[in-house]
């Protein structure tokens, strides 16, 4: 990771995304942002606050309420040499754009055998724990990570937000950039100044340990780290890996860790059946079967359509730090 300057600032995830977008727009005339309410409103989380005043409505486009064409138009822009960053206001609204993302963007390079490419970024906030109920809380990565030709990242620390967003903007292929909305203001961290990228496809160990490997991403990385810290006080050593990239995914880091700890716990907010954890489990069993000293476990969202609005329903869906800690403890004792 090349860091242009040694100074850094503490900021939250909103600020990290905002600053990164701002720098990208300033650095490259071909970059533009399009989406609902990104201009005058500055995005419903204020991420693009101030942008339209500085860059103008031609580069900060308030689109009609039409997700399929937000992505489709961005694809055309990308094929014609611009570097568009499309925004889907909430991940729950992305479904009309599925045709364009999966059927068109992901296949542009492949179907034209490289004659055309699609350097596109699609940003969207996802995830729950904010009383967002059925249509403002879903996770969508499992719907898309299956698709060759797409890249997907889901950072949750401010420094990672910046590095991976820069990498996504630079990437010549379409990247789905997932921002966990609960971490927007909740998570603060040091962000180095200057332009830098983090390679897409590289996970990071956020809390080293040697008795159990925990793989997670999004909001739950933070809770997993909290649980691991707590358990360290009881002399239980947990290694927490922040995936950061969903597709491509970092098998080297995962396997190295599993070979060391021999136990794997995957924690993700998305529904369990067919979620990311299923693919990780399959890969680890294929590659490190003889290193496993316990069955792989997955702590995931229950297999119901979404979390309810009532606090009790949301809490039932979401996984508490206590539950994570207990599972880690159980696995180490197994």
């Amino acid at each position: 990771m090349a860091v242009a300057s040694t100074t850094s600032t503490v900021m939250n995830n909103v600020e990290a995304v905002r600053n990164t977008l701002y720098e990208a727009l300033k650095a490259d005339d071909r970059t533009l942002i399009l989406g609902e309410d990104v201009g005058a409103r500055g995005n419903v989380f204020l991420i693009t606050k101030g942008f339209i005043e500085e860059f103008g409505p031609e580069r900060i486009i308030d689109t009609p309420l039409a997700e399929a064409s937000i992505v489709g138009i961005a694809i055309g822009m990308a094929m014609e040499g611009l570097r568009p960053i499309a925004e889907i206001q909430f991940a729950d609204f992305i479904y009309p754009a599925f045709n364009q993302i999966v059927g068109e963007a992901a296949k542009t390079r492949y179907r034209s055998n490289g004659d055309y490419t699609c350097p596109l970024v699609i940003r969207t906030p996802y995830g729950g724990g904010v009383r967002g109920a059925l249509s403002h809380s879903v996770s969508i990565e499992a719907l898309f990570y299956h698709v060759p030709g797409l890249k997907i990242v889901a950072p949750s620390f401010p420094a990672d937000m910046k590095g991976l967003l820069n990498a996504a903007i630079d990437d010549p292929d379409p990247v789905l950039f997932l921002e966990h909305k609960k971490t927007y203001r909740l998570v603060k961290g040091e962000v180095p100044a200057g332009h830098y990228t983090i390679p897409i496809g590289k996970a990071e160990i956020k809390h080293p340990g040697d008795q159990v490997t925990v793989v997670s991403y999004g909001l739950y990385v933070h809770q997993a780290i909290e649980a691991a810290t707590r358990l360290a006080g009881d002399n239980i050593s947990v290694e927490v890996i922040d995936l950061r990239s969903i597709r491509p995914m970092d098998r080297t880091t995962i396997l190295e860790s599993v070979r060391k700890t021999r136990k794997l716990l995957i924690i993700h907010e998305d529904n369990k059946f067919g979620g990311i954890g299923a693919e990780i489990s399959a890969m680890v069993v294929e590659e490190a079967f003889f290193d496993l000293d316990a069955p792989i476990r997955r702590l995931c969202g229950p297999d119901v359509p979404a979390m309810g609005y009532a606090a009790t329903l949301e809490e039932e869906f979401m996984i508490s730090t206590d539950r994570m800690a207990n599972t880690m403890r159980e696995m180490v004792a197994f």
Binding site: L46, R297, P302, F334
Partner: protein, 425 residues
């Protein structure tokens, strides 16, 4: 008295600032009346009161920023007129849609649900984990001998590694105990009925066997060799004679006495096989006391046929039969079990075709007779089907080298192959 806390105005908001108090201490406030203006970086809003009463105290000053859920004011509640007496009101923790609600505790632990990743561990504990299996193999650790420190007594990978690091462990012995299993006592683990994940207590016999095996391998450098013997003729002889033998002597006629007879002859021709190593020299035995390995229950015993060179094939059969009977009845005496100079093991009775036996304490060698198997062989450049039996030999390399052991085996082979298809027992 109600404590008002900073509401969460917006899904991701984590703090708020008191922009302006719309009431001062002592003012009356009605339920739902706005009494303070709060701002966050997303939204500015007036906050309606959750209760009717009087503003008693302002905790958070104008311009001060606090985390959502932090106290900002206290209101003394006045009972609603007509309710008939004041009641203490519950602490209202939210004045606006709050994220962290003081929800009634729901018993949510217990029933497994889709997300919690529990696993039916009793299924899993039937076997060892892949890691344990691999590590045990790599480090030559016998998992069944370990006490597990894992869940429900499971042997963990760390247990294996700890055992491996405790010192050199004897390679896993090839035991030939044919477990004639008596049904185990209900629920308790025994050698005959071992329960995975539990400890089988060590019987005195097993302790001795363990000790002797370790000793034998530790003192005698074992080498191993084998020959194939065409037993078609002797097998035919046995087949012809067995019914009458059973009738006359009241016991079965196996290949064992024929074998012992040939062994004795081969020992006579190769005396170093009937010897033992001492620091003073190799003691060549004068008698031919052939031990026959008998496995039963949790035990392996080697009763001895004394002076086997004085017995005919029939005599050997009867002597062996008597010893096996005594062994099964638990009536072997010290005389039966001591004085052996060479040991024969009928591993073939269990179907084995190759064995690498451990020398019986202090002797120079041990020989096995493996299963008799019909095989295609080449005789005079044509293919014939013959009954073939492998004969394996472990030898104490301090006493015997390859030449001597092969000479012994070749003699043994020749005499076996010359026996039958008829003869005098």
């Amino acid at each position: 008295m109600t404590t008002i806390t900073m509401p969460q105005l917006g899904e991701t908001v984590t703090e708020g600032t008191v922009a302006q108090w719309l009431k001062k201490p002592g003012d009356a406030i009605e339920k739902y009346e706005s009494f303070v203006e709060v701002s966050t970086d997303k939204v500015n809003a007036e906050v309606p009161s959750p209760v009717s009463g009087v503003l008693r105290e302002i905790i958070c000053k104008e311009g001060e920023t606090v985390a959502t859920g932090a106290p900002i004011a206290i209101i003394d509640e006045v009972a609603v007129a007509g309710a008939g007496g004041a009641e203490p009101s519950p602490v209202a923790a939210h004045a606006a849609p709050a994220a962290v609600a003081a929800a009634p505790a729901v018993v949510s632990n217990g029933a497994p649900r889709g997300g919690n990743g529990s696993v039916n561990t009793s299924e899993v504990l039937r076997g060892v984990s892949p890691a344990v299996r691999r590590l045990a193999r790599e480090h030559h650790v016998d998992v069944s001998s370990l006490r597990g420190t894992g869940h429900n007594g499971r042997v963990t990978a760390n247990d294996v590694l700890a055992a491996a690091s405790r010192g050199p462990v004897a390679p896993v012995a090839v035991t030939r105990a044919a477990a004639v299993a008596a049904p185990a006592g209900a629920g308790r683990s025994t050698y005959a009925a071992p329960v995975p994940g539990t400890l089988v207590p060590l019987s005195p016999a097993r302790k001795i066997i363990a000790q002797r095996m370790v000793e034998s391998l530790a003192t005698a450098p074992h080498a191993w060799t084998m020959v194939e013997v065409d037993v078609s003729n002797v097998w035919a002889w046995r087949a012809k004679a067995k019914d009458r033998f059973q009738q006359e002597k009241g016991q079965p006629l196996t290949l064992l006495p024929f074998f012992i007879h040939a062994v004795v002859g081969a020992l006579k021709a190769n005396p170093l096989l009937n010897a033992r190593f001492t620091d003073e020299g190799i003691y060549v035995e004068s008698r031919y006391n052939i031990g026959i390995a008998v496995g039963m229950d949790a035990n392996l015993v080697v009763p001895v046929i004394r002076d086997a060179d004085t017995l005919s094939i029939a005599g050997l059969a009867i002597a062996a039969g008597k010893l096996v009977e005594k062994a099964r009845a638990g009536k072997l005496g010290a005389d039966d079990l001591t004085g052996g100079t060479f040991t024969v093991n009928n591993t073939g009775a269990n179907g084995s075709v190759l064995s690498k036996p451990i020398i019986n304490g202090g002797q120079a060698a041990i020989v096995t007779m493996e299963a008799v198997v019909k095989r295609p062989v080449v005789i005079a450049d044509a293919i014939a089907i013959r009954s073939i039996m492998n004969v394996c030999l472990s030898l104490d390399h301090r006493v015997i080298d390859g030449t001597a052991s092969n000479a012994f085996l070749n003699h043994l082979k020749k005499s076996l192959e010359a026996m039958g298809p008829t003869g005098d027992l």
